[in-house]
Amino acid sequence: MRVFNDDKWLNESLNFVRHKRDLASKKLDNWEYLREVASNIKAHTITHLDSYLEEFEAKALANGIKVHWAVDAKEHNKIVESILKKHNAKKIVKSKSMLTEECELNPYLENRGYEVIDTDLGERIVQLAKQRPSHIVLPAIHLKKEQVATIFNEQNSDPTYLTNIARVRLREHFESCDAAITGVNFAVASEGAFVVCTNEGNADLGTSLANVHIAVMGIEKIIPNMQDLGVFLTLLARSATGQDITTYSSIFKKPSRGKEIHLIIVDNGRSQMLGDEKFEGALKCIRCGACMNTCPVFRRVGGHEYNYVIPGPIGSNLGSSRDIKEYGKLAFASTLCGSCTAVCPVKINLHEQLVAYRGVYKSQVKESKDRYYKLTAKILTKPRVYRSLIKLAKYMPHWLYRGVWGKGRVAPKLAKKSFKDYYESL
Protein backbone atom coordinates (compact mmCIF):
# COMPACT_ATOMS: atom_id res chain seq x y z
CA MET A 1 0.00 0.00 0.00
CA ARG A 2 1.24 3.45 -0.90
CA VAL A 3 2.06 5.88 1.86
CA PHE A 4 2.87 9.18 0.23
CA ASN A 5 5.06 10.47 3.04
CA ASP A 6 7.46 7.61 2.51
CA ASP A 7 8.26 8.91 -0.96
CA LYS A 8 10.25 11.89 0.23
CA TRP A 9 13.40 10.35 -1.19
CA LEU A 10 11.87 10.11 -4.68
CA ASN A 11 10.94 13.78 -4.47
CA GLU A 12 14.42 14.61 -3.29
CA SER A 13 16.30 12.62 -5.91
CA LEU A 14 14.21 14.09 -8.73
CA ASN A 15 14.64 17.56 -7.33
CA PHE A 16 18.40 16.91 -7.25
CA VAL A 17 18.32 16.20 -11.00
CA ARG A 18 16.23 19.30 -11.56
CA HIS A 19 18.79 21.32 -9.62
CA LYS A 20 21.65 19.94 -11.74
CA ARG A 21 19.71 21.00 -14.83
CA ASP A 22 19.42 24.54 -13.44
CA LEU A 23 23.15 24.76 -12.74
CA ALA A 24 24.04 23.46 -16.22
CA SER A 25 21.70 25.87 -17.96
CA LYS A 26 22.98 28.86 -15.99
CA LYS A 27 26.54 28.09 -17.04
CA LEU A 28 25.59 29.11 -20.57
CA ASP A 29 25.33 32.80 -21.45
CA ASN A 30 22.13 32.56 -23.36
CA TRP A 31 20.21 29.45 -22.45
CA GLU A 32 16.83 31.12 -22.85
CA TYR A 33 17.74 32.30 -26.33
CA LEU A 34 18.83 28.77 -27.25
CA ARG A 35 15.46 27.41 -26.08
CA GLU A 36 13.83 29.94 -28.38
CA VAL A 37 15.99 28.77 -31.30
CA ALA A 38 15.30 25.10 -30.55
CA SER A 39 11.58 25.72 -30.26
CA ASN A 40 11.51 27.47 -33.63
CA ILE A 41 13.56 24.74 -35.34
CA LYS A 42 11.14 22.11 -34.06
CA ALA A 43 7.99 24.13 -34.83
CA HIS A 44 9.32 24.61 -38.35
CA THR A 45 10.30 20.97 -38.75
CA ILE A 46 7.06 19.39 -37.54
CA THR A 47 5.08 21.62 -39.90
CA HIS A 48 7.35 20.57 -42.79
CA LEU A 49 7.64 16.93 -41.80
CA ASP A 50 6.64 15.63 -45.20
CA SER A 51 9.50 17.28 -47.09
CA TYR A 52 12.11 16.64 -44.37
CA LEU A 53 11.15 12.96 -44.12
CA GLU A 54 11.45 12.60 -47.88
CA GLU A 55 14.82 14.34 -47.90
CA PHE A 56 16.02 12.20 -45.01
CA GLU A 57 14.86 8.97 -46.62
CA ALA A 58 16.52 9.71 -49.95
CA LYS A 59 19.85 10.50 -48.29
CA ALA A 60 19.67 7.55 -45.90
CA LEU A 61 18.94 5.15 -48.76
CA ALA A 62 21.90 6.57 -50.68
CA ASN A 63 24.01 5.93 -47.56
CA GLY A 64 23.03 2.27 -47.63
CA ILE A 65 20.58 2.36 -44.73
CA LYS A 66 17.47 0.25 -45.29
CA VAL A 67 14.43 2.42 -44.54
CA HIS A 68 11.03 1.04 -43.50
CA TRP A 69 7.78 2.85 -42.71
CA ALA A 70 5.25 1.72 -40.12
CA VAL A 71 1.78 3.23 -39.81
CA ASP A 72 1.23 1.82 -36.33
CA ALA A 73 2.72 -0.22 -33.51
CA LYS A 74 1.55 -3.50 -35.00
CA GLU A 75 3.30 -2.85 -38.29
CA HIS A 76 6.43 -1.69 -36.46
CA ASN A 77 6.62 -4.94 -34.50
CA LYS A 78 6.03 -7.01 -37.64
CA ILE A 79 8.82 -5.23 -39.50
CA VAL A 80 11.24 -5.82 -36.61
CA GLU A 81 10.30 -9.48 -36.56
CA SER A 82 10.72 -9.86 -40.33
CA ILE A 83 14.23 -8.35 -40.17
CA LEU A 84 15.17 -10.67 -37.31
CA LYS A 85 13.79 -13.66 -39.24
CA LYS A 86 15.74 -12.74 -42.33
CA HIS A 87 18.95 -12.69 -40.31
CA ASN A 88 17.99 -15.73 -38.30
CA ALA A 89 18.54 -13.62 -35.18
CA LYS A 90 17.32 -15.06 -31.89
CA LYS A 91 19.05 -12.94 -29.28
CA ILE A 92 18.61 -9.17 -29.33
CA VAL A 93 20.37 -6.56 -27.23
CA LYS A 94 18.36 -3.42 -26.91
CA SER A 95 19.29 0.07 -25.82
CA LYS A 96 16.76 2.58 -24.60
CA SER A 97 13.84 3.43 -26.83
CA MET A 98 10.54 4.77 -25.54
CA LEU A 99 9.05 3.99 -28.95
CA THR A 100 9.55 0.26 -28.44
CA GLU A 101 7.82 0.63 -25.06
CA GLU A 102 4.98 2.44 -26.82
CA CYS A 103 4.75 -0.38 -29.39
CA GLU A 104 5.15 -3.06 -26.70
CA LEU A 105 7.89 -4.67 -28.76
CA ASN A 106 9.45 -6.72 -25.95
CA PRO A 107 6.37 -8.82 -25.13
CA TYR A 108 5.65 -9.16 -28.86
CA LEU A 109 9.09 -10.63 -29.53
CA GLU A 110 9.25 -12.69 -26.34
CA ASN A 111 5.92 -14.32 -27.15
CA ARG A 112 7.45 -15.41 -30.43
CA GLY A 113 10.49 -17.02 -28.86
CA TYR A 114 13.05 -14.24 -29.15
CA GLU A 115 15.36 -13.37 -26.29
CA VAL A 116 15.32 -9.61 -25.71
CA ILE A 117 17.93 -8.15 -23.37
CA ASP A 118 17.53 -4.53 -22.26
CA THR A 119 21.05 -3.21 -21.78
CA ASP A 120 20.59 0.24 -20.27
CA LEU A 121 21.23 -0.43 -16.57
CA GLY A 122 17.96 1.14 -15.43
CA GLU A 123 15.97 -0.66 -18.11
CA ARG A 124 17.67 -3.97 -17.31
CA ILE A 125 16.70 -3.55 -13.66
CA VAL A 126 13.03 -2.95 -14.44
CA GLN A 127 13.07 -5.74 -17.04
CA LEU A 128 14.33 -8.23 -14.45
CA ALA A 129 11.82 -6.89 -11.92
CA LYS A 130 9.05 -7.35 -14.53
CA GLN A 131 8.08 -3.71 -14.23
CA ARG A 132 7.91 -0.88 -16.70
CA PRO A 133 10.20 2.17 -16.64
CA SER A 134 8.92 4.84 -14.24
CA HIS A 135 10.83 7.63 -15.98
CA ILE A 136 11.97 8.06 -19.59
CA VAL A 137 15.57 8.97 -18.71
CA LEU A 138 15.89 7.33 -15.28
CA PRO A 139 13.87 4.11 -15.71
CA ALA A 140 14.57 2.66 -12.26
CA ILE A 141 14.49 5.83 -10.17
CA HIS A 142 11.60 4.42 -8.12
CA LEU A 143 13.75 1.57 -6.78
CA LYS A 144 16.15 1.70 -3.86
CA LYS A 145 19.58 0.11 -4.09
CA GLU A 146 18.56 -2.65 -1.68
CA GLN A 147 15.70 -3.57 -4.02
CA VAL A 148 18.12 -3.57 -6.97
CA ALA A 149 20.43 -5.90 -5.02
CA THR A 150 17.52 -8.28 -4.45
CA ILE A 151 16.60 -8.13 -8.15
CA PHE A 152 20.23 -9.03 -9.00
CA ASN A 153 20.30 -11.78 -6.34
CA GLU A 154 23.09 -9.99 -4.51
CA GLN A 155 23.72 -9.16 -0.84
CA ASN A 156 25.89 -6.10 -1.45
CA SER A 157 23.79 -3.06 -2.33
CA ASP A 158 26.63 -0.67 -3.18
CA PRO A 159 25.75 1.03 -6.51
CA THR A 160 29.31 0.65 -7.87
CA TYR A 161 29.31 -3.04 -7.02
CA LEU A 162 25.87 -3.59 -8.57
CA THR A 163 26.74 -1.62 -11.72
CA ASN A 164 29.82 -3.76 -12.18
CA ILE A 165 27.77 -6.95 -11.70
CA ALA A 166 25.45 -5.73 -14.46
CA ARG A 167 28.42 -4.86 -16.68
CA VAL A 168 29.90 -8.35 -16.37
CA ARG A 169 26.60 -10.17 -16.86
CA LEU A 170 25.45 -8.02 -19.76
CA ARG A 171 28.84 -8.29 -21.47
CA GLU A 172 28.15 -11.98 -22.01
CA HIS A 173 24.87 -11.10 -23.71
CA PHE A 174 26.56 -8.47 -25.88
CA GLU A 175 29.18 -10.97 -26.99
CA SER A 176 26.58 -13.52 -28.04
CA CYS A 177 23.91 -11.26 -29.55
CA ASP A 178 22.56 -11.58 -33.08
CA ALA A 179 20.97 -8.17 -33.46
CA ALA A 180 20.92 -4.78 -31.76
CA ILE A 181 17.90 -2.51 -31.45
CA THR A 182 18.28 1.18 -30.60
CA GLY A 183 16.07 4.22 -30.52
CA VAL A 184 16.95 7.44 -32.32
CA ASN A 185 17.45 10.81 -30.66
CA PHE A 186 17.79 12.86 -33.84
CA ALA A 187 17.56 12.06 -37.54
CA VAL A 188 19.40 14.66 -39.60
CA ALA A 189 17.64 15.22 -42.94
CA SER A 190 20.55 16.89 -44.76
CA GLU A 191 22.90 13.97 -43.99
CA GLY A 192 20.58 10.97 -44.01
CA ALA A 193 22.25 10.10 -40.70
CA PHE A 194 20.79 9.48 -37.26
CA VAL A 195 22.13 10.16 -33.77
CA VAL A 196 21.90 7.96 -30.68
CA CYS A 197 22.85 9.40 -27.29
CA THR A 198 23.78 7.27 -24.27
CA ASN A 199 25.93 7.62 -21.18
CA GLU A 200 26.63 3.94 -20.72
CA GLY A 201 27.88 3.11 -24.21
CA ASN A 202 25.37 0.29 -24.53
CA ALA A 203 24.03 1.42 -27.91
CA ASP A 204 27.57 1.57 -29.31
CA LEU A 205 28.60 -1.75 -27.88
CA GLY A 206 25.48 -3.55 -29.13
CA THR A 207 25.49 -2.08 -32.61
CA SER A 208 29.22 -2.65 -33.11
CA LEU A 209 29.04 -6.31 -32.09
CA ALA A 210 25.79 -7.35 -33.79
CA ASN A 211 25.56 -7.97 -37.52
CA VAL A 212 22.30 -6.14 -37.86
CA HIS A 213 21.27 -2.88 -36.25
CA ILE A 214 17.58 -2.00 -36.16
CA ALA A 215 16.96 1.65 -35.25
CA VAL A 216 13.42 2.83 -34.62
CA MET A 217 12.17 6.42 -34.68
CA GLY A 218 8.93 8.36 -34.50
CA ILE A 219 8.37 10.68 -37.45
CA GLU A 220 8.96 13.70 -35.19
CA LYS A 221 12.63 12.85 -34.57
CA ILE A 222 13.69 14.63 -37.76
CA ILE A 223 15.80 17.78 -37.65
CA PRO A 224 16.87 19.69 -40.77
CA ASN A 225 20.67 19.87 -40.60
CA MET A 226 23.91 19.49 -38.63
CA GLN A 227 23.84 23.04 -37.25
CA ASP A 228 20.49 22.19 -35.71
CA LEU A 229 22.02 19.05 -34.22
CA GLY A 230 24.51 21.34 -32.44
CA VAL A 231 21.61 23.19 -30.80
CA PHE A 232 19.90 20.01 -29.60
CA LEU A 233 23.08 18.34 -28.36
CA THR A 234 23.71 21.50 -26.36
CA LEU A 235 20.24 21.36 -24.80
CA LEU A 236 19.48 17.64 -24.40
CA ALA A 237 21.86 16.40 -21.70
CA ARG A 238 21.83 19.68 -19.79
CA SER A 239 18.04 19.47 -19.58
CA ALA A 240 18.00 15.75 -18.83
CA THR A 241 20.71 15.21 -16.21
CA GLY A 242 22.65 18.46 -16.00
CA GLN A 243 25.61 17.01 -17.90
CA ASP A 244 27.21 19.17 -20.60
CA ILE A 245 26.64 16.42 -23.17
CA THR A 246 25.94 12.70 -23.06
CA THR A 247 29.07 10.54 -22.94
CA TYR A 248 28.38 8.97 -26.32
CA SER A 249 26.67 10.96 -29.09
CA SER A 250 27.00 8.56 -32.01
CA ILE A 251 26.21 9.52 -35.57
CA PHE A 252 25.26 6.58 -37.78
CA LYS A 253 25.50 7.35 -41.49
CA LYS A 254 26.42 4.10 -43.21
CA PRO A 255 26.56 0.48 -42.04
CA SER A 256 29.95 -1.10 -41.37
CA ARG A 257 31.25 -3.31 -44.15
CA GLY A 258 29.29 -6.57 -44.27
CA LYS A 259 26.67 -5.35 -41.81
CA GLU A 260 23.18 -3.89 -42.14
CA ILE A 261 21.37 -0.93 -40.63
CA HIS A 262 17.58 -0.93 -40.79
CA LEU A 263 15.69 2.19 -39.82
CA ILE A 264 11.96 2.04 -39.08
CA ILE A 265 10.07 5.33 -39.30
CA VAL A 266 6.90 5.06 -37.20
CA ASP A 267 3.77 7.20 -37.25
CA ASN A 268 1.47 5.47 -34.71
CA GLY A 269 -0.88 8.42 -34.35
CA ARG A 270 1.69 11.20 -34.55
CA SER A 271 0.56 12.63 -37.87
CA GLN A 272 -2.94 12.94 -36.41
CA MET A 273 -1.59 15.41 -33.85
CA LEU A 274 -0.58 17.81 -36.60
CA GLY A 275 -2.88 20.64 -37.57
CA ASP A 276 -4.37 21.47 -34.18
CA GLU A 277 -2.31 24.42 -33.06
CA LYS A 278 -3.34 23.94 -29.44
CA PHE A 279 -1.78 20.50 -29.27
CA GLU A 280 0.69 19.85 -32.11
CA GLY A 281 3.53 21.45 -30.12
CA ALA A 282 3.84 18.21 -28.13
CA LEU A 283 5.54 16.78 -31.24
CA LYS A 284 8.51 19.08 -30.56
CA CYS A 285 9.48 16.96 -27.53
CA ILE A 286 13.06 15.65 -27.44
CA ARG A 287 12.37 13.30 -24.48
CA CYS A 288 14.76 14.87 -21.98
CA GLY A 289 12.49 14.26 -18.99
CA ALA A 290 13.02 17.74 -17.51
CA CYS A 291 9.26 18.26 -17.15
CA MET A 292 9.07 15.11 -15.01
CA ASN A 293 11.93 16.07 -12.70
CA THR A 294 10.39 19.43 -11.95
CA CYS A 295 6.73 18.39 -11.72
CA PRO A 296 5.48 18.52 -8.10
CA VAL A 297 2.95 15.79 -8.85
CA PHE A 298 5.39 13.45 -10.63
CA ARG A 299 8.01 13.95 -7.93
CA ARG A 300 5.61 12.69 -5.30
CA VAL A 301 3.74 9.88 -7.03
CA GLY A 302 6.38 8.57 -9.45
CA GLY A 303 5.93 7.44 -13.02
CA HIS A 304 4.01 4.23 -12.39
CA GLU A 305 0.92 6.14 -11.27
CA TYR A 306 0.46 7.39 -14.84
CA ASN A 307 -1.35 4.91 -17.04
CA TYR A 308 0.24 6.13 -20.29
CA VAL A 309 3.62 4.73 -21.41
CA ILE A 310 5.28 8.14 -21.07
CA PRO A 311 4.61 9.65 -17.64
CA GLY A 312 4.73 13.22 -16.37
CA PRO A 313 3.44 16.41 -18.00
CA ILE A 314 4.50 15.52 -21.56
CA GLY A 315 3.08 12.01 -21.18
CA SER A 316 -0.26 13.34 -19.95
CA ASN A 317 -0.48 15.42 -23.12
CA LEU A 318 0.70 12.70 -25.48
CA GLY A 319 -1.65 10.19 -23.83
CA SER A 320 -4.60 12.58 -24.06
CA SER A 321 -3.94 13.09 -27.76
CA ARG A 322 -3.73 9.33 -28.27
CA ASP A 323 -7.00 8.45 -26.51
CA ILE A 324 -8.84 11.09 -24.51
CA LYS A 325 -11.18 8.57 -22.89
CA GLU A 326 -8.39 6.30 -21.70
CA TYR A 327 -5.76 8.88 -20.75
CA GLY A 328 -7.58 12.24 -20.56
CA LYS A 329 -7.87 12.00 -16.79
CA LEU A 330 -4.11 12.46 -16.57
CA ALA A 331 -4.61 16.10 -17.57
CA PHE A 332 -6.27 16.62 -14.19
CA ALA A 333 -3.30 15.22 -12.27
CA SER A 334 -1.52 18.55 -12.36
CA THR A 335 -1.29 21.62 -10.18
CA LEU A 336 -0.94 23.74 -13.35
CA CYS A 337 2.01 25.47 -11.71
CA GLY A 338 3.68 25.73 -15.11
CA SER A 339 7.11 24.58 -13.95
CA CYS A 340 7.18 22.01 -16.78
CA THR A 341 6.67 24.74 -19.36
CA ALA A 342 9.40 26.83 -17.73
CA VAL A 343 12.07 24.13 -18.07
CA CYS A 344 11.10 22.54 -21.41
CA PRO A 345 14.12 22.99 -23.74
CA VAL A 346 11.86 23.27 -26.80
CA LYS A 347 9.29 25.47 -25.05
CA ILE A 348 6.25 23.23 -25.28
CA ASN A 349 3.40 25.00 -23.47
CA LEU A 350 2.80 21.86 -21.44
CA HIS A 351 0.51 23.20 -18.71
CA GLU A 352 -1.62 25.18 -21.15
CA GLN A 353 -2.16 22.00 -23.11
CA LEU A 354 -3.19 20.21 -19.93
CA VAL A 355 -5.87 22.84 -19.33
CA ALA A 356 -7.07 22.51 -22.90
CA TYR A 357 -7.21 18.70 -22.63
CA ARG A 358 -9.34 19.04 -19.49
CA GLY A 359 -11.85 20.87 -21.64
CA VAL A 360 -11.71 18.19 -24.32
CA TYR A 361 -12.15 15.50 -21.68
CA LYS A 362 -15.13 17.17 -20.03
CA SER A 363 -16.84 17.69 -23.37
CA GLN A 364 -16.28 14.12 -24.58
CA VAL A 365 -16.35 11.88 -21.55
CA LYS A 366 -19.25 11.43 -19.13
CA GLU A 367 -18.10 10.51 -15.66
CA SER A 368 -19.80 8.99 -12.67
CA LYS A 369 -17.97 11.62 -10.66
CA ASP A 370 -19.99 14.38 -12.30
CA ARG A 371 -22.80 14.09 -9.76
CA TYR A 372 -20.29 14.40 -6.91
CA TYR A 373 -18.92 17.53 -8.51
CA LYS A 374 -22.44 18.96 -8.63
CA LEU A 375 -23.01 18.04 -4.99
CA THR A 376 -19.66 19.54 -4.02
CA ALA A 377 -20.50 22.73 -5.87
CA LYS A 378 -23.76 22.99 -3.92
CA ILE A 379 -21.98 22.60 -0.61
CA LEU A 380 -19.10 24.92 -1.40
CA THR A 381 -21.38 27.74 -2.45
CA LYS A 382 -23.21 27.65 0.92
CA PRO A 383 -20.72 28.57 3.67
CA ARG A 384 -23.01 27.60 6.52
CA VAL A 385 -23.70 24.13 5.14
CA TYR A 386 -20.01 23.70 4.36
CA ARG A 387 -18.91 24.65 7.88
CA SER A 388 -21.32 22.35 9.63
CA LEU A 389 -20.31 19.44 7.39
CA ILE A 390 -16.62 20.09 8.02
CA LYS A 391 -17.29 19.87 11.76
CA LEU A 392 -18.82 16.46 11.20
CA ALA A 393 -15.89 15.25 9.08
CA LYS A 394 -13.79 14.22 12.07
CA TYR A 395 -16.45 11.70 13.03
CA MET A 396 -16.27 10.10 9.61
CA PRO A 397 -15.39 6.44 10.04
CA HIS A 398 -12.27 5.22 8.24
CA TRP A 399 -14.08 2.50 6.33
CA LEU A 400 -15.64 5.26 4.23
CA TYR A 401 -12.23 5.66 2.57
CA ARG A 402 -12.21 2.12 1.37
CA GLY A 403 -14.40 2.93 -1.59
CA VAL A 404 -13.14 3.64 -5.07
CA TRP A 405 -10.98 6.54 -3.97
CA GLY A 406 -9.36 4.67 -1.11
CA LYS A 407 -7.96 1.82 -3.19
CA GLY A 408 -4.20 1.74 -2.73
CA ARG A 409 -4.29 4.71 -0.40
CA VAL A 410 -3.97 5.22 3.31
CA ALA A 411 -6.56 7.42 4.98
CA PRO A 412 -5.05 10.66 6.21
CA LYS A 413 -5.53 11.56 9.88
CA LEU A 414 -7.93 14.44 10.22
CA ALA A 415 -7.10 17.34 12.49
CA LYS A 416 -9.18 17.56 15.64
CA LYS A 417 -10.10 21.17 14.99
CA SER A 418 -11.12 22.69 11.69
CA PHE A 419 -8.83 25.41 10.37
CA LYS A 420 -11.49 28.02 11.04
CA ASP A 421 -11.86 26.96 14.69
CA TYR A 422 -8.10 26.88 15.03
CA TYR A 423 -7.72 30.32 13.49
CA GLU A 424 -10.38 31.83 15.75
CA SER A 425 -8.78 30.33 18.84
CA LEU A 426 -5.46 32.07 18.12
Binding site: L34, N40, H44, L162, G201
Partner: protein
Protein backbone atom coordinates in the same frame (compact mmCIF):
# COMPACT_ATOMS: atom_id res chain seq x y z
CA UNK B 1 1.82 1.36 -48.88
CA UNK B 2 2.67 2.67 -45.42
CA UNK B 3 5.14 5.25 -46.66
CA UNK B 4 2.62 7.05 -48.83
CA UNK B 5 -0.09 6.64 -46.19
CA UNK B 6 2.04 8.37 -43.58
CA UNK B 7 3.20 11.15 -45.90
CA UNK B 8 -0.37 11.69 -47.08
CA UNK B 9 -1.64 11.91 -43.52
CA UNK B 10 1.08 14.45 -42.67
CA UNK B 11 0.28 16.59 -45.72
CA UNK B 12 -3.45 16.46 -45.00
CA UNK B 13 -3.15 17.37 -41.35
CA UNK B 14 -0.56 20.14 -41.44
CA UNK B 15 -2.47 23.36 -41.07
CA UNK B 16 -0.09 26.29 -41.15
CA UNK B 17 3.60 25.92 -41.86
CA UNK B 18 6.02 27.70 -39.53
CA UNK B 19 8.99 29.53 -41.07
CA UNK B 20 12.50 29.40 -39.67
CA UNK B 21 13.31 32.54 -37.74
CA UNK B 22 16.88 31.73 -36.84
CA UNK B 23 19.51 30.99 -39.45
CA UNK B 24 22.35 31.29 -37.01
CA UNK B 25 22.83 31.30 -33.26
CA UNK B 26 25.56 31.86 -30.75
CA UNK B 27 26.02 29.94 -27.55
CA UNK B 28 28.86 31.24 -25.43
CA UNK B 29 32.16 32.96 -25.97
CA UNK B 30 35.03 31.18 -24.24
CA UNK B 31 38.38 32.87 -23.67
CA UNK B 32 40.73 30.08 -22.71
CA UNK B 33 39.73 27.08 -24.78
CA UNK B 34 42.29 24.64 -23.37
CA UNK B 35 41.47 25.41 -19.72
CA UNK B 36 37.76 25.16 -20.32
CA UNK B 37 38.18 21.88 -22.21
CA UNK B 38 40.17 20.39 -19.33
CA UNK B 39 37.54 21.59 -16.85
CA UNK B 40 34.69 20.10 -18.91
CA UNK B 41 36.56 16.83 -19.45
CA UNK B 42 37.09 16.43 -15.71
CA UNK B 43 33.43 17.19 -15.05
CA UNK B 44 32.62 14.36 -17.44
CA UNK B 45 34.89 11.99 -15.48
CA UNK B 46 37.84 12.09 -17.86
CA UNK B 47 41.47 12.89 -17.09
CA UNK B 48 44.40 14.65 -18.74
CA UNK B 49 47.38 12.31 -19.03
CA UNK B 50 51.05 12.72 -19.90
CA UNK B 51 51.58 9.24 -21.21
CA UNK B 52 49.56 6.73 -23.16
CA UNK B 53 51.11 3.89 -21.16
CA UNK B 54 48.65 1.69 -19.35
CA UNK B 55 45.76 2.33 -21.74
CA UNK B 56 44.32 -0.49 -23.81
CA UNK B 57 43.65 1.54 -26.90
CA UNK B 58 44.79 4.83 -28.45
CA UNK B 59 42.44 6.95 -30.58
CA UNK B 60 42.99 10.16 -32.50
CA UNK B 61 40.55 13.04 -32.08
CA UNK B 62 39.81 15.27 -35.07
CA UNK B 63 38.92 18.08 -32.71
CA UNK B 64 37.32 18.69 -29.33
CA UNK B 65 34.77 21.02 -27.76
CA UNK B 66 35.72 23.25 -24.81
CA UNK B 67 32.16 23.76 -23.62
CA UNK B 68 31.40 20.09 -23.01
CA UNK B 69 34.70 18.17 -23.04
CA UNK B 70 33.69 16.02 -25.99
CA UNK B 71 36.26 14.71 -28.49
CA UNK B 72 35.13 14.16 -32.07
CA UNK B 73 36.31 10.84 -33.52
CA UNK B 74 35.52 9.47 -36.95
CA UNK B 75 38.44 7.49 -38.28
CA UNK B 76 38.09 3.97 -36.91
CA UNK B 77 37.00 1.11 -39.11
CA UNK B 78 35.96 -1.11 -36.23
CA UNK B 79 33.32 0.79 -34.29
CA UNK B 80 33.66 -1.32 -31.20
CA UNK B 81 36.85 0.57 -30.21
CA UNK B 82 34.69 3.29 -28.67
CA UNK B 83 32.86 1.09 -26.19
CA UNK B 84 34.50 -2.34 -25.90
CA UNK B 85 37.68 -1.62 -23.95
CA UNK B 86 38.19 -0.79 -20.27
CA UNK B 87 40.53 2.12 -20.88
CA UNK B 88 40.87 4.53 -23.78
CA UNK B 89 43.35 7.31 -24.37
CA UNK B 90 42.63 9.99 -26.95
CA UNK B 91 45.35 12.07 -28.60
CA UNK B 92 44.20 15.63 -29.12
CA UNK B 93 45.93 18.52 -30.86
CA UNK B 94 45.63 21.48 -28.47
CA UNK B 95 45.06 23.87 -31.36
CA UNK B 96 42.03 21.84 -32.48
CA UNK B 97 39.82 22.78 -29.54
CA UNK B 98 36.76 24.82 -30.50
CA UNK B 99 34.47 26.71 -28.13
CA UNK B 100 30.99 25.26 -28.58
CA UNK B 101 28.89 22.80 -30.56
CA UNK B 102 28.19 25.57 -33.04
CA UNK B 103 31.82 25.76 -34.16
CA UNK B 104 32.05 21.98 -33.85
CA UNK B 105 29.28 21.41 -36.34
CA UNK B 106 31.19 23.43 -38.91
CA UNK B 107 34.03 20.91 -38.66
CA UNK B 108 32.04 17.68 -38.55
CA UNK B 109 32.82 15.29 -41.36
CA UNK B 110 31.17 11.90 -41.39
CA UNK B 111 32.29 9.19 -43.76
CA UNK B 112 30.18 6.40 -42.34
CA UNK B 113 30.19 6.84 -38.58
CA UNK B 114 31.31 9.50 -36.13
CA UNK B 115 31.10 10.07 -32.43
CA UNK B 116 31.34 12.80 -29.83
CA UNK B 117 32.82 11.15 -26.75
CA UNK B 118 32.88 12.94 -23.44
CA UNK B 119 34.63 11.12 -20.62
CA UNK B 120 34.34 7.48 -19.63
CA UNK B 121 31.12 5.46 -19.79
CA UNK B 122 28.88 6.16 -16.81
CA UNK B 123 25.49 5.63 -15.23
CA UNK B 124 23.48 6.94 -12.31
CA UNK B 125 20.62 4.49 -12.69
CA UNK B 126 20.89 3.18 -9.13
CA UNK B 127 19.67 5.83 -6.68
CA UNK B 128 21.24 8.64 -8.68
CA UNK B 129 24.73 7.56 -7.56
CA UNK B 130 27.22 8.29 -10.31
CA UNK B 131 29.20 5.19 -11.23
CA UNK B 132 32.02 5.42 -13.76
CA UNK B 133 32.34 2.46 -16.10
CA UNK B 134 28.93 1.22 -17.18
CA UNK B 135 29.36 -0.73 -20.42
CA UNK B 136 32.20 1.15 -22.06
CA UNK B 137 35.51 2.58 -20.86
CA UNK B 138 36.09 2.78 -17.10
CA UNK B 139 38.94 5.16 -17.70
CA UNK B 140 39.24 7.83 -20.38
CA UNK B 141 42.40 9.86 -20.72
CA UNK B 142 43.18 12.68 -23.10
CA UNK B 143 46.78 13.42 -24.01
CA UNK B 144 47.17 16.95 -25.34
CA UNK B 145 49.79 17.30 -28.05
Amino acid sequence: MSRSKILKSIKQNINSRVDREFTTYNIESIDNLVDRFIDSLKRAGGEIVDTIDGFEIVLNAKFAVAQNGACFLNNEIDRKVYSYYESIVILLDKTKIVATMKEAMGLVEIDDFAIFMSGPSKTADIEQSLVIGAHGAKRLGVKLI
